[in-house]
Amino acid sequence: MLLFPMKAWERIAVADFANQQPLALHVPEPKARPGVEPDWSGLTLPPAGAQPRPDETCAAAETWPLCTDLIRVLDEDGVAQGPWNPRLDAETLRTMLRNMALTRAFDERMFRGQRQGKTSFYMKCTGEEATSVAPAMALAADDMVFPSYRQQGILITRGYPLEDMINQIYSNKADKLKGRQLPIMYSARDYGFFTISGNLATQLPQAVGWAMASAISGDTRIAAAWVGEGSTAEGDFHSALTFATVYNAPVVLNVVNNQWAISSFSGFAGAERQTFAARAIGYGVAGLRVDGNDPLAVYAATRWAANRARSNAGSTLIEHFTYRAEGHSTSDDPSQYRSAQERSTWPLGDPIVRLKNHLIALGEWDENRQAAMDAELAEMVKAATRAAEANGVLGHGMHHPFHTMFEDVFETLPWHLREQSEQAMRERRIKWPDWRPEDGDEMP
């Protein structure tokens, strides 16, 4: 009774198999590896100013065209175009330019410091300055930001002292994080800047939770988070978008699509199939895809999303289409895995140059002023570096007192950590017999 249908099924399966081609696995491969000239012909760049700007409280689905388009404001001549032009006054534009230039000057100096052995690690954001500086200017100063590791432009824009950033990078005795965190993993509660995690995308559901808490409390502040395109593959991304849409959380979620996650190109996060902004629509969240090297477009998109969140109209996912001009960090050499010409031929240019050209086109800036500003900023960073170095650099003994290693695991010290801290002190005495506990070096 059972045999007949099984035999029939087997016959069909074998017959089908004979007529089918074997399955093939697709493993994504970037277009240009080292030694290959990049070909950008597949990248369609719509003209600046051509994208419609829907009402900020529109239905999420209305933003669908903007998820596959590219919101652009600055055209090739440096002129601001179209409905997304935020119409910022010249003073604000100069401040934006200055914040981006300061971020770049800071990166240059810190990268050099790492190469000189002053710290273990650094990450530049060269070419991506607009994706943190412009949103920081478009958000309110007390909106809470949940950054990833390449948003130093937010701290700089919000006026966090450079010297404190460098103290953290050097893990020295003045480091507010007590030398516990990898360089650049800042935390600045007073500046509305959440502690950076090294685990990717964890900040997304946290930002949604903060935004939900703000709504629960009847507050007016919103939250914003940043994540790289590579990390959108994490489950946290899906959790964050799901919670954001379910509770209509007042949050702006930024995907910085800089094309590369260390050596893995964006294809490994799904970019060959669809844009990152397009994911928003599946969740019922508004989505915007923005020219991330156009500071005015980034500013305008952030302002749109922030207004939407502030009016209880929901969350927005913004994809910033940009390019990581440098390596992932001081620990990798990008010439080993991607074409060296990608940076110089990147079709969306450089955000600082583009804003500079815009200000020049407006008659509000010139090359001399730019050069003078760059020199002034370099000097400012140098002075901050010198001041921070007085507090020590990594590995030269000027770190936080020994016992602080055991603090802040819990609010109060449990017996087992007290025992372990005594062990650590004993080890120190054995290694350095002449060492005498200085103020604060013994357990309180």
């Binding site: 516990r180 964890t202 939770g209 808490a213 629960i216 409390s217 379910v246 819990f410 449990p414």
Partner: protein, 338 residues
């Protein structure tokens, strides 16, 4: 004033008391809102405190814990429920890498004052996905506290203390004893809590401090270390066998009350550790190591560990897996020999 409560009622009461005292307390989890939770722990709370303080969530443990961390950073005091401890793993990164280390990595700028409640343990024919005891995964993490009550009185006091605590707390509720204490006699009717002295629960606010064990029964012959359901099971076996055991309910695994353990083992010279979780790398291994380190010269016989087997929790053979009277009895016999 006090009244008799089941463990579920005591937990519900603790949530009610803390929500009434502190508007920052919010409850969220799968089915905890209108329905009041699959075990009824949050029954009536949404109606009393409103939908923005007690609400259902998507089926996403990563999201539940991650969102709770963000709410804690804002200044709320979230009490997320994970419907079964077996479901907690998608939220593990948010607990281990985020909640547990927020205070440390930000040098105190941000804290994660959340209390993650979750029913755990077997004995209800839950099969491998509704029976696990994963406490050792959490006691291994620097920065997390792990609390496991064994009765209504402690459940309420410990839960209030956990919610008020400024560190993240994993609060595992032994679901086998939600509605009555369990001595391991699975073939007999459930004994209700109202016949048990520890079901007498004070009304209103009180705390049972974290990090303090309780001596359930004083004795001279052997020290029994247990928590949750196994306190009752081990205690019953000792009584049945007429062993003059000192039964200690640990109540909190981290931070651990080493003083109470040390004082007892120094007195008895014998130590049996009982837990339901799998054996290898279980919290019993940590307890065994600590007793050896602190009481080696007081020990007269090797320490005994009685645990679940190193298999997934089977459905049909649940009671063969469970560390019940026979397994405990054998260990007691071994440890009682001269």
């Amino acid at each position: 004033m006090s009244r008799r409560m089941t463990m579920i009622e005591a937990i519900n009461d603790a949530l009610d008391v803390t929500m009434g005292r502190d508007p920052a307390v919010v409850i969220m989890g799968e089915d905890v809102g209108y329905f009041g939770g699959v075990f009824r722990a949050t029954a009536g709370l949404q109606k009393k405190y409103g939908k923005t303080r007690v609400f259902d969530t998507p089926i996403s443990e990563c999201g539940i814990i991650g969102v709770a961390v963000g709410m804690g950073a804002y200044g709320l005091r979230p009490v997320p429920e994970i419907q079964f401890a077996d479901y907690i793993y998608p939220g593990l990164d948010q607990l281990v890498s985020e909640a547990a280390r927020l205070r440390y990595r930000s040098a105190g700028e941000f804290i994660a004052p959340l209390t993650v409640r979750s029913p755990f343990g077997g004995g209800i024919f839950g099969g491998q996905t509704h029976s696990q005891s994963p406490e050792a995964l959490f006691t291994h993490v620097a920065g997390l506290k792990t609390v496991i009550p064994s009765n209504p009185h402690d459940a309420k006091g410990l839960l209030i203390a956990a919610i008020e605590d400024n560190d993240p707390v994993i609060f595992f509720e032994p679901k086998r004893i939600y509605n009555g204490p369990f001595t391991g006699a699975y073939d007999r009717p459930v004994e209700p809590w109202n016949k048990h002295a520890d079901s007498e629960v004070p009304e209103g606010y009180y705390t049972v401090p974290l990090g303090k064990a309780r001596v359930v029964r004083e004795g001279e012959a052997v020290t029994v270390l247990a928590y949750g359901t196994m306190v009752h099971v081990a205690h019953a076996v000792c009584l049945d066998k007429g062993v003059d055991a000192e039964v200690i309910d640990l109540r909190t695994l981290v931070p651990l009350d080493i003083e109470t353990i040390r004082a007892s083992v120094r007195k008895t010279g014998r130590c049996m550790i009982v837990h339901e979780a799998t054996r290898t790398g279980g919290f019993g291994a940590e307890l065994s190591a600590l007793v050896q380190e602190h009481c080696f010269y007081d020990l007269e016989v090797p320490i005994e560990r009685v645990t679940g087997f190193d298999t997934p929790y089977p459905h049909s053979l649940e009671w063969a897996y469970f560390p019940g009277a026979v397994r405990i009895g054998e260990a007691l016999d071994r440890i009682s020999k001269d």
